[in-house]
Symmetry: C2
Subunit: 335 residues, 2 copies
Amino acid sequence: MSATIKDVAKLAGVSISTVSRVINNSKPVSNEVKKKVLDAVNELGYKPNEVARTLVTKRSYLIGVVVTDIGNSYIAEMVRGIEEVGKMYNYDILLCSSYGDLEAELKFMQLLKRKQVEGIILLSEIVNEEVIDKLDELKIPFVYLNRYFYIEDFPTVTIDDYQASYEMTNYLINLGHRKIAYVTVNEDEYSLENFKIAGYRKAIEEVDGCEEILYSAKGYSIDDGYEMGRDFLKLRDKLGITAVFCSHDEHAIGLMNYFYDNNIRVPEDISVAGYGDIKIASIYRPRLTTVKEPHYDIGAVAIRKIIKELKDKDQKETIIKLPFQIVKRESCEKI
Amino acid sequence: MSATIKDVAKLAGVSISTVSRVINNSKPVSNEVKKKVLDAVNELGYKPNEVARTLVTKRSYLIGVVVTDIGNSYIAEMVRGIEEVGKMYNYDILLCSSYGDLEAELKFMQLLKRKQVEGIILLSEIVNEEVIDKLDELKIPFVYLNRYFYIEDFPTVTIDDYQASYEMTNYLINLGHRKIAYVTVNEDEYSLENFKIAGYRKAIEEVDGCEEILYSAKGYSIDDGYEMGRDFLKLRDKLGITAVFCSHDEHAIGLMNYFYDNNIRVPEDISVAGYGDIKIASIYRPRLTTVKEPHYDIGAVAIRKIIKELKDKDQKETIIKLPFQIVKRESCEKI
């Protein structure tokens, strides 16, 4: 049978409320008494009932993480960063997957409130205004991690998309390409695409003989990349495109699949570059040249930001930018 | 300010303990009273404090799920099945990722106990005896989902590996292949490999001119498949192997990558079949012919099994076998 708080009190020769004070760190006790209690806790292997403890201390040591789909490799990597750093600070993660269902996200907000989580990390592809209102109401630290949208004043961890896009476009220019298409998605006013397009545009404008070629995919999936294949090939033939830079690895993989299925060789017939460095980018053949976003670090830094904020309410840093990397693989070559 | 149980009692014109009975379903109340209380709950938007509620009802409505790495697409699919069915029955999921760390798995068992989860689903690639002892101690329903190991009397949801392996081998034989290699991992006594090998062997033995060719990879990853590439090619040249059936998609993808990097064409030079139908199997080019394990359904059925057991302790069914499918894609062709 497991030890109770009574057993600890008896062994330590103190009252139950003293044991409670030590365990919950709720009121000061002398170091001598503290040591007695902790020794007794260790000797008996006493584990406080966490459910009861949450009631007393008002601390749950839980961080809520709301994701759209943990099945996306980059989301899984971010969650891994969150979990591993959380563990170091004794925080557990309550993970909720909405699978893109807005109603589910709203319900999760309620659930997380009831479970008394101390912070929330939202990894959602959709900007749901109701969810944002709920987050505001909760008045607990939160971070919004997202590969698609940017909202000013929203705490986030990201990379410098403008600079990354600029550098990748320059890399393609240096390989000798001039007709470089850029595959974007919809140009929503909140979209991170705007930064990426601006970086691409700047690189194109700096070099004679380059022209801007923008192409919009319908969504963010591999299937969306595949589906644009037919029209894109027509555009390629018309404009003489020799390289395509996709704002998401998913598009690049989908396009490469369409090329494979239609006997267009990568990189011999066309160079393809991506953005993200999702898991499949280095597994696929040819391996995908891409912008490496540090997904693990993004998650790790996000939870660290929350934990810092829990200790000191006056954390002012809203946007944290981490370093990126241009990863050169076989899908792009000299023209 | 949010409504309290007092407000509900007042509005419904009943006592606080009656409200509590209705909310926690702890003691019978008349339908009339129940309706009054629920109407008041709805009108006031009252949310019971779940932490306090767990103390009273001894029910947490939490199911613990311990996984090695949520970043594996098939694990993510299983978790998705678990979550979506759990949601239907108002269960939340407490997800713990061990990333293969045995100590972490043991700690999770303690954590899940303290959080008073009502059931546990373990998706671990390692059979950790200490974890199993802990599970036994907890005396709550559990299910062990695993693509690698089989333990008699352990509740699990799976497919008929013997039959699936037999059918895939027959498919390759029907394409005209006779020198069909089978890639397995270590032949541990608990390994599911034993069933798969037996199915392969039976198909080989039934046909004249076929011979058994077993090859062992060092582990279960894509890298392990890649690393065996060099030796495997030597074996192929020596024995005239025309098709390879891998007991895990990961090996098949790794091997195909090695083949690509060494100018061996799939399926022209060698047919490759896998097992699992992980996400990448249909994204990769050529698309991988494989045994489709219904990962989502496996997760969904596992949590349903636990919920059934919570309602009726006398559930006797230990092993549930779900249907599989031989998915024919381009990585295998007629000889």
